[in-house]
């Protein structure tokens, strides 16, 4: 069981981030709209992020699933989770009535549940980072 969890963690983390990336890549304009709803960035930065972030997520998730450049990918995913947490918390504090935009446009996840899921993903990524390479 102890040997199994890193594989399971990789599958969950990589799978969820890959899915999130693909749903955003299908409609980057809608994803830009979702980012805009957070009212944190100027429009140009929103557009850049909408084009870049899904690819970064896809590359990192692929790296985690294939175990290539894995520690670098996990580090980026932890940083992304921290950024998402800050954005979600700011939306919550400002009482913005938005969906998180985590899995593309029109997804129904509200901010509190998105924060919980984000924390779980961050914990998995940190746990995998702390995992000795030979065990993982």
């Amino acid at each position: 069981m102890k040997a199994l969890w890193p594989w399971l963690g990789r599958l969950v983390l990589g799978g969820i981030f890959a899915y999130a990336a693909v749903t955003k890549l299908l409609d980057p304009a809608a994803f830009a709209t979702d980012i805009g709803h957070y009212r944190l960035l100027p429009h140009s930065a929103t557009v850049l992020l909408a084009n870049y972030l899904p690819w970064l997520e896809l590359l990192c998730s692929t790296a985690v699933l294939c175990r290539r450049q894995e520690r670098g990918a996990l580090t980026i995913l932890v940083i992304l989770c921290l950024m998402f947490a800050l954005a979600l918390a700011s939306a919550w504090i400002r009482d913005l009535d938005i969906t998180c935009g985590c899995f593309g446009h029109g997804t129904t996840t509200g901010v509190p549940w998105a924060m919980v899921r984000n924390a779980i993903l961050a914990l998995i990524a940190v746990a995998l980072l702390r995992c000795p390479a030979r065990q993982a």
Binding site: T33, H43, Y52, W55, L59, R71, T75, D95, D97, G106
Partner: protein
């Protein structure tokens, strides 16, 4: 150090497809500023239009069940496909559509209004200023 090198490589690699997305994706976001602003109506304006108004409630189904503007059709983004037939049944070309959500900072009414314009090609779609909160304050 190796971890940082790996991370830097991934960060740089993502730039290439991101550039292609920005240049060639059929649904790429526009650089030219924000989307066109939607017309907004106050409660008083909406009431002056009388029975021509078709209220569209963009809040969640639960919120709609708890209370809504009389005659409003529920059409939240999350139940779009399921609720759309009900909206189409209520809509006629002579009606002015006013979409509302909770009020204040909510975005749902704008999202639904833009989707109605984009997907159904409707012209007269307005957003209720201050939404449900204004209705409760001024009308109920």
């Amino acid at each position: 150090m190796k971890t940082l090198r790996e991370a830097a490589l991934l960060l740089v690699l993502a730039v290439v497809p991101a550039l292609a997305t920005g240049l060639y994706h059929p649904k790429r976001p526009a650089w030219s500023g924000q989307a066109e602003a939607l017309p907004r109506a106050t409660i008083a304006q909406a009431q002056s239009w009388g029975n021509r108004v078709l209220w569209v409630d963009a809040r969640s189904t639960e919120a709609y069940r708890t209370g809504h503007i009389p005659g409003a059709v529920s059409l939240p983004m999350m139940n779009w496909e399921r609720q759309l037939p009900e909206f189409l049944q209520a809509w006629t070309p002579d009606r002015k559509i006013i979409v509302y959500c909770d009020g204040g900072s909510c975005q749902a009414s704008e999202e639904v209004a833009r989707r109605l314009k984009r997907e159904l090609g409707l012209e007269e779609v307005t957003v209720l200023q201050e939404g449900w909160a204004a209705w409760r304050r001024d009308v109920r």
